[in-house]
């Protein structure tokens, strides 16, 4: 393997996306979120006692579906029936195995091993929204409310 590089190895999706949509004739580049300050919550009990809740960007219906198909709480047995028609690399891989983006079975194995206390009976869908305000004022508080109902202690977030 060549150990010399002139550019970073991992993909910059900000740079590639800006160039890609500019080539498609979009005049205003997407503005990504940036914050200088980052909140930080500490675990208040051992991980082995914690209940884990999973958040996904997969949807309950095709992309054009209503908002309720993107912002939702669903039972874990529904994890294999989601839509993944958002942007991802269709040339390099596929999403036929739901565990690659919504790891309910792998987390259940962690419960059996005692790494975590339990997994929430529901997982949560978070819309990929262009509006940062909608995400912060509507979606995130709703997901928090569902997590409180389900006794979730810690969250595993998995954007496809």
């Amino acid at each position: 393997m060549d150990i010399n590089r002139t550019h970073r190895s991992f993909v910059s999706y900000i740079d590639k996306g800006r160039n890609y949509y500019e080539a498609q004739g979009y005049e205003r580049p997407h503005e990504w979120a940036h914050f200088d300050e980052v909140p930080f919550a500490r675990l208040d009990k051992p991980l082995s006692d914690c209940r884990v809740g999973v958040v996904t960007t997969a949807n309950k219906a095709a992309m054009q579906g209503p908002r309720s198909t993107k912002l939702f709480a669903a039972l874990n047995r529904e994890s294999g029936h989601l839509h993944t028609d958002m942007a991802w690399d269709r040339d390099a891989t596929h999403t036929d195995d739901p565990e690659t983006y919504l790891p309910v079975a792998r987390l259940s194995e962690c419960v059996e091993r005692g790494t975590i206390g339990s997994i929430s009976e529901r997982f949560y869908g978070a819309p990929t929204d262009y509006s940062k305000r909608t995400t912060l004022q509507d979606d995130a508080p709703q997901i928090e409310a569902w997590m409180r109902e389900d006794g979730v202690d810690v969250a595993l977030l998995v954007p496809i």
């Binding site: 999706y13 979009y26 990504w32 675990l43 978070a126 995130a140 969250a155 977030l157 954007p159």
Partner: protein, 120 residues
């Protein structure tokens, strides 16, 4: 998803993100990121590769448990495809002289379809 993580942290729920778009997540700023250098679509490991998936999830939980400061990024050591990683990285959202006209045309068609949907 990074915004959701930030919100949950602000109300006292610790989070970890498992993601492949490292630059987007780090630009936003999150408490804990497990970066997996995979093509978009399979952040939790390769399809049907239970061993890799278990290792990714185990690493995410380990990060959740052990990070002591925000903006902690850990890169999972798994390699997607040691012989072809350069190819998928280059190919995704590629813009070149050979596809520039097609991209411009696709964008125009998409905007026209969007405009048509907005008409009463």
């Amino acid at each position: 998803m990074s915004l959701v993580a930030r919100y949950l942290e602000s109300v006292g729920i610790p989070t970890v993100i498992v993601a492949s778009a490292r630059d987007i997540v780090e630009e936003c700023g999150v408490p804990r990121l497990l970066f997996v250098d995979f093509p978009l679509g399979n952040p939790c490991g390769k399809p049907w590769d239970v061993e890799m998936q278990s290792d990714v999830i185990g690493s995410a939980l380990n990060l959740l448990d052990n990070a002591w400061t925000p903006r902690t990024t850990v890169q999972h050591p798994a390699i997607w495809d040691s012989e072809h990683d350069a190819e998928w990285r280059a190919q995704y959202m590629r813009v070149g002289d050979d596809n520039r006209t097609a991209l411009a045309s696709a964008g125009k068609t998409r905007r026209e379809a969007q405009a048509a949907r907005k008409l009463p």
